[in-house]
C-alpha cells in the first residue's frame, strides 16, 4: 500500500490506504471502552444511595481548585510538580489527540477554533506539551526504578509491589507521546521535502527532533513512518483507554467525577442511610457496611479513583505506629475485590462479608479518624465515612472487642464511658478551693445563663483533665461571661460513640443532650473539648452556636479583655500541637497560635507536621480503651517530633491530646525534659488579674491519670 505514497501527493492522503482499518480501530476501541465502563458501573448501580448532586456551584469551585488547579499536589514537591506537568500536558494535548484520531477517518478534520493562527499557536504549544509529558515519563520511570520513594513500597502483607504496573503505564504514555510527535514530525518533514511551507519553530521539541532527523530521509520512509506513527498512536491510545479501568490510572477518567462529587461537609459523618429518615432506621435490617454492596456509589468511585500514590498512608498515624491499617490498602483491597467480584465477563457480586476476608477487625478499629489521609489525598478520596460505616457493620454484627464493650455499656447506662455516677459529673466544680474563687452555676429549673459550658465526659471525670475544666471556667468568669453547666443532665457528647459506629447509642445521647441544652435556655455553647465541639457543630442539629475556648480566648485577647503577664521562665520553648478535631476537621489553626503569641516572652516553634498536616496524638474517647496492635504508641512519635523541633512544652487544646501526650512523655523517657499543658490552663495561668489568682492546681506537674482507659 505504501507505493501510494507519491512525492507529489498531499500528505493527508498518505493515510488513505488505512481508512477502513482506522475506522475499525476507532469503533473497536470505543466499543470496548464503553463496555468496560459499563461493567465497572455495575456495582455502583447496586450500591447504597448517596445524594451528591446538590450545590453545583460549590462543587464546580472544588473541581476548579482540586482538579483543574491540582491544589493538593505540591504538598509533595517532586511528585506533585511532576504530576502538574503531566496533567497540564494531558489537558493541552486533549484536542490534539482528538484531532489526530479524527484525521484517520476524516482527512480534513480541524478542531473548531483551532484553524489558522490559533491552530498554529496550539500546535506549537502541544509540540512542547508532548515533549514535557514524554520527559516526565522518563523521569517518573527513573524515579520508580532507581530512587524508589518509600511510600510506593508494598508491605508483604498487602501483596506484590505495584512497580511493574506503574512503569508499564508510564511506558505506554511515553509511547503515545512518541507516536504523536513522530506523526507530527514526519508530516512536517514531508511537507518540507515537498517544498511546502512547514513551519515548525518548536526547536528541541520531540516533533522538531523527528522532523530534523527525517529531513533527508526518503519520502517513502517518511510516509511509512507517518502511517506507522498513526497506527501506533491509535492503538496505544485505545489500549490505554481500555487498560486504565483495570488499575491505578483509571483516575484519568474518574478524577473529574470523584472531585466534583466529593463531600462538602468536612467534620461530619454520613448518616447510616442517606435514603431513609432517621425515624425509619428501625426498619433497616442491617446497619453499616458488611458487604461491598453496602458502600455508597461514591465510595466505590473512590476505590476506582485511587492513584496508588501512597500519600494517605504516608501521613496516617496508625500506619506510622505499625498498626494493621494503611488507608492506601483499604482502598486498593476494595478495588481488587470489586475487580474480582465484578469481572468483565460472567456473574458479578456474591455479597461476601468484607470483615474476615479483605479486612481484619483490628484494621478497622485502628483508625483514629484524624483525617490526615483525607487531607492529603489529591483526589479527595474519603476514608472516615467508610471506616465508620464498616464499624457500624461490626457493631451491628456484635463484633466488638471486649475492651470497647465495657465503655459502650457504661455510656448506655451512665452516659459516660467510665461508668461514673451521673451525680458526680459536676464534682470538678465543687472542689472547695475552687469554689471559693469561681462559682460555677448549675443550669436547672432555677438557674439560667446566656452561655452553656459543655464540659463532656473526660474533662468532667478525669482528675487530671478537671484542671482544664476549672481553667476554662476561670477564663469564662474572668471575661464576665454569664455561664453555667448542665451537671448530671449532661451526657457524653457521643462524638466517639458515633465514630466507633454505635449510631443508635449516639442518637440516644444526642437526643438527650439536645433536650437538656434546649431546656437550659442557653443562647450559645462553649466547650474546651474539640471532640464535643465537632459533635455539637456537625453531629447535632438545632442546638445553639458552639465555640471552642481557643476561639473565645483569641477574641478576648484581641478585644483587650484578656491581658497576659510575661512568662516567668523564658528559657523554655513552646510548640503547639493541633488537635485533629480543632484543626483539620474545623480549620481552627490560627486562634490558638494567636493566643500563645500574645503571651509576653513566649518562644514558640512549629513542628514540621503542624496545622493541616498535624500528627494525631493517638486518638480520643473510646480509642483510649481500645488496645491496638502496634509497634509504638502514636503519641510517642508525636512527642519525639516536638523534641526534634526543639520544644520543651507541648501546648494542646484537647483533653485527649493531653492524655496521650502526657502518657507518651513518660513512655518516651522525656519526663523532666518535656511537659504538656492545655491552652486554657496556660491562658488561665498567665491571665493578668487585678488580684493574684489562687492556684488550684499546677497542671504541668499533676500528671496522674485517673479514669481514662490507659
Amino acid at each position: 500500500m505504501l507505493e501510494l505514497v507519491q512525492s507529489t501527493a498531499p500528505v493527508s492522503s498518505w493515510l488513505d490506504p488505512g481508512r477502513t482499518l482506522f475506522l475499525i480501530i476507532h469503533l473497536l476501541g470505543l466499543a470496548a471502552f464503553a463496555y468496560i465502563v459499563a461493567r465497572r458501573l455495575v456495582p455502583l448501580v447496586r450500591a447504597q444511595s448517596d445524594p451528591r448532586f446538590d450545590h453545583p456551584v460549590a462543587r464546580l469551585g472544588k473541581l476548579l481548585k482540586f482538579w483543574f488547579g491540582q491544589w493538593k499536589h505540591p504538598r509533595y514537591k517532586t511528585a506533585g510538580i511532576l504530576h502538574i506537568f503531566i496533567f497540564s500536558g494531558f489537558i493541552l494535548l486533549a484536542a490534539r489527540a482528538f484531532t489526530v484520531l479524527m484525521v484517520g477517518t476524516s482527512p480534513n478534520f480541524v478542531m473548531p477554533g483551532l484553524s489558522g493562527q490559533a491552530g498554529r499557536v496550539y500546535e506549537s504549544a502541544t509540540d512542547y506539551a508532548a515533549t514535557v509529558v514524554f520527559l516526565c515519563m522518563i523521569f517518573a520511570i527513573v524515579r520508580r526504578l532507581v530512587f524508589k520513594p518509600a511510600r510506593y513500597a508494598v508491605p508483604a502483607r498487602y501483596g506484590k509491589a505495584h512497580t511493574a504496573d506503574a512503569v508499564f503505564l508510564l511506558v505506554l504514555i511515553g509511547i503515545l507521546m512518541v507516536a504523536d510527535s513522530l506523526f507530527a514530525g514526519a508530516k512536517a518533514a514531508a511537507l518540507m521535502q515537498q517544498g511546502q511551507p512547514a513551519e515548525m519553530g518548536t526547536v528541541f521539541s520531540l516533533p522538531w527532533i523527528f522532523k530534523t532527523a527525517l529531513a533527508s530521509a526518503s519520502i517513502s520512509t517518511v510516509g511509512t513512518l507517518y502511517f506507522g506513527a498513526y497506527v501506533l498512536h491509535a492503538v496505544t491510545f485505545y489500549f490505554l483507554l481500555c487498560y486504565r479501568p483495570f488499575g491505578i490510572q483509571f483516575h484519568v477518567e474518574t478524577s473529574l467525577f470523584n472531585i466534583y462529587f466529593a463531600t462538602l461537609n468536612k467534620g461530619a459523618v454520613k448518616p447510616v442511610r442517606w435514603d431513609l429518615a432517621e425515624e425509619k432506621l428501625d426498619q433497616v435490617k442491617s446497619f453499616g457496611v458488611k458487604t461491598f454492596e453496602d458502600f455508597t456509589w461514591k465510595h466505590m468511585l473512590d476505590f476506582y479513583s485511587c492513584a496508588d500514590c501512597g500519600r494517605c498512608s504516608d501521613n496516617c498515624p496508625a500506619n506510622a505506629a505499625g498498626r494493621p491499617l494503611s488507608p492506601r490498602f483499604l482502598t486498593i483491597k476494595a478495588r481488587d475485590y470489586a475487580f474480582q467480584h465484578y469481572p468483565m465477563f460472567g456473574k458479578s457480586g456474591n455479597g461476601t462479608p468484607l470483615i474476615g476476608s479483605i479486612y481484619s477487625d483490628d484494621e478497622i478499629w485502628s483508625c483514629t479518624t484524624c483525617g490526615a489521609c483525607e487531607e492529603e489525598c489529591p483526589l479527595l478520596v474519603e476514608y472516615i465515612d467508610k471506616i465508620v460505616d464498616l464499624r457500624r457493620g461490626m457493631i451491628d454484627a456484635g463484633n466488638v472487642p471486649q475492651s470497647l464493650q465495657k465503655p459502650l455499656k457504661a455510656l448506655e447506662s451512665r452516659g459516660n464511658p467510665y461508668g461514673m455516677m451521673e451525680k458526680k459529673k459536676a464534682d470538678w466544680s465543687n472542689a472547695n478551693e475552687f469554689r471559693e474563687i469561681c462559682n460555677v452555676k448549675l443550669l436547672d429549673k432555677k438557674n439560667s445563663a446566656e452561655t452553656l459550658y459543655f464540659v463532656d465526659s473526660v474533662t468532667s471525670f478525669d482528675e487530671r483533665m478537671q484542671s482544664i475544666s476549672r481553667a476554662t471556667a476561670k477564663i469564662l468568669d474572668h471575661i464576665g461571661e454569664d455561664f453555667g453547666i448542665l451537671g448530671a443532665a449532661e451526657k457524653d457528647s457521643g462524638h466517639e460513640v458515633r465514630r466507633f459506629g454505635e449510631e443508635t447509642l449516639f442518637m440516644a445521647l444526642r437526643d438527650h443532650n439536645a433536650e437538656a441544652i434546649k431546656a437550659s435556655g442557653a443562647k450559645r455553647i462553649i466547650t474546651s473539648d474539640p471532640h464535643a465541639y465537632n459533635a455539637l457543630k456537625h453531629d447535632y442539629k438545632d442546638v445553639p452556636p458552639v465555640e471552642h475556648i481557643s476561639q473565645v480566648l483569641a477574641r478576648e485577647v484581641k478585644s483587650g479583655k484578656i491581658k497576659f503577664t510575661p512568662l516567668e521562665n523564658t528559657s523554655v520553648v513552646y510548640t503547639y500541637h493541633d488537635p485533629c478535631y480543632l484543626g483539620r476537621h474545623n480549620q481552627i489553626y490560627d486562634d490558638p497560635r494567636a493566643v500563645l503569641d500574645a503571651i509576653p516572652g513566649l518562644k514558640r516553634v512549629e513542628m514540621p507536621r503542624s496545622r493541616d498536616r498535624s500528627f494525631c496524638c493517638g486518638g480520643g474517647g473510646l480509642m483510649l480503651f481500645y488496645e491496638p496492635k502496634e509497634d509504638q504508641r502514636i503519641g510517642v512519635k508525636r512527642v519525639q517530633m516536638a523534641a526534634e523541633a526543639g520544644a520543651n512544652v507541648i501546648v494542646t487544646a484537647c483533653p485527649f491530646c493531653m492524655t496521650n501526650i502526657e502518657d507518651a512523655i513518660k513512655v518516651a523517657g522525656l519526663e523532666g525534659k518535656m511537659t504538656a499543658i492545655d491552652l486554657a490552663e496556660l491562658a488561665d495561668q498567665q491571665m493578668a488579674r487585678e488580684r493574684p489568682p489562687v492556684r488550684v492546681s499546677q497542671p504541668a506537674e499533676t500528671q496522674l491519670e485517673c479514669v481514662t482507659g490507659r
Binding site: 428501625d282 446497619f287 457493631i395 451491628d396 454484627a397 456484635g398 463484633n399 466488638v400 471486649q402 470497647l404 464493650q405 465495657k406 459502650l408 455499656k409 457504661a410 448506655e412 447506662s413 451512665r414 461508668g419 461514673m420 455516677m421 451521673e422 451525680k423 482528675e463 454505635e502 449510631e503 443508635t504 447509642l505 440516644a508 499533676t702 496522674l704 485517673c706
Partner: protein, 263 residues
C-alpha cells in the same frame, strides 16, 4: 441441642459505687444501674456458639421480677431464641436452695440437654448450679472454661487449675455446668439490638404454672437468711490511707519502699 441458661440481673459493679444503706441491712439501691451478671453473659455466648455449631435452641431463664425482663431481652438481642421470666410473690426471700427448687421445676417442664449457669452471681454465693444438678440428679461440673461437643451425648469440658493448666474431663448429657468468665468473647449487643428485642414475647411462669407449693420456696422455705451487712473495722496492721489522690499515692509509695516492696 436444647440449652437452658440460668441468668441473673445484678448491680453492675463497674458502674456503681456500692454503699450500705442507713439501716445497714442492704446496699443503697437508689441510683444503681443493673446488668446481666457477667458470667451468665459468657454462658449465653457459649450456648449460642454451641448451637451455631451443632444446631438447637437457646433459652434464657431468670427468677426475679418484671424489672429482670431487661436482661432477658438483652440476651435475646444477642441471639437467644427464648426468654423466660419466673416470677411470683411467693418466691420472694428464697435462698439458693429455693431458687434451685424453682429452676428444677422449670427444667422438668421442658427437655433440656444442657443447663448452663454463670460460675457465680456478682451478688450471689455460687450455689444454685450445684444444687440444681443434685435435685435433678444430673452430673455437674463447675468453673468450666471450654466446652466441646463429642459424639454420643457427651461433652469434653475443661477447667483451669493451678498455674494456668487445663484439666480436661468428659461429662454425659444432660448435665449442668457453671461457666467461668473468659471462656469466650461475648458478642456486643448494641442499643439497636436491644430496641429490636423490646417487642419480643417473653413467657412468664408463676408458682402454679410450675406446680410448686408455696411451702417449698420463698422466705418460709429459706434455710439461709441474710441478717445484716457491715463494714469491717480496720483490724490490727490494716491502715486506711486518707487524703487526696496525690497524697495517698505518695504515702503508699513511702510505705511500700519502707517495707521493701519497692526497690
Amino acid at each position: 441441642m436444647e440449652i437452658l441458661v440460668c441468668a441473673r440481673r445484678v448491680p453492675d459493679t463497674s458502674e456503681n459505687e456500692i454503699t450500705l444503706n442507713s439501716a445497714g441491712n442492704d446496699i443503697e439501691r437508689g441510683e444503681l444501674v443493673y446488668s446481666i451478671n457477667e458470667a451468665d453473659n459468657y454462658a449465653v455466648e457459649e450456648a449460642l456458639q454451641i448451637v451455631a455449631k451443632v444446631g438447637g435452641k437457646v433459652t434464657v431463664v431468670t427468677v426475679g421480677s418484671e424489672d429482670d425482663e431487661e436482661i432477658l431481652r438483652r440476651e435475646m438481642a444477642m441471639g437467644a431464641n427464648e426468654g423466660v421470666l419466673i416470677t411470683d410473690n411467693a418466691f420472694e426471700g428464697s435462698d439458693g436452695r429455693g431458687i434451685a427448687t424453682i429452676l428444677k421445676a422449670f427444667v422438668q417442664k421442658g427437655k433440656y440437654d444442657l443447663i448452663l449457669t454463670g460460675v457465680q452471681a456478682d451478688d450471689g454465693a455460687a450455689q444454685v448450679g450445684g444444687m440444681l444438678a443434685a435435685m435433678l440428679d444430673y452430673p455437674f461440673a463447675s468453673l468450666v472454661n471450654s466446652i466441646e461437643v463429642l459424639d454420643g451425648r457427651k461433652l469434653q469440658i475443661s477447667r483451669e487449675i493451678q498455674g494456668g493448666n487445663k484439666e480436661i474431663s468428659e461429662i454425659d448429657l444432660p448435665c449442668v455446668l457453671s461457666i467461668q468468665t473468659g471462656i469466650n468473647e461475648p458478642r456486643y449487643v448494641g442499643m439497636r439490638g436491644i430496641r429490636a428485642a423490646a417487642s419480643l414475647p417473653i413467657s412468664t411462669y408463676g408458682l402454679k404454672d410450675l406446680g410448686l407449693n408455696a411451702r417449698e420456696v420463698g422466705v418460709a422455705a429459706a434455710r439461709v437468711t441474710r441478717q445484716d451487712y457491715f463494714v469491717p473495722e480496720p483490724g490490727k496492721g490494716a491502715e486506711m490511707l486518707e487524703g487526696s489522690r496525690e497524697e495517698t499515692l505518695e504515702k503508699l509509695v513511702e510505705l511500700l519502699a519502707a517495707k521493701g516492696g519497692l526497690r
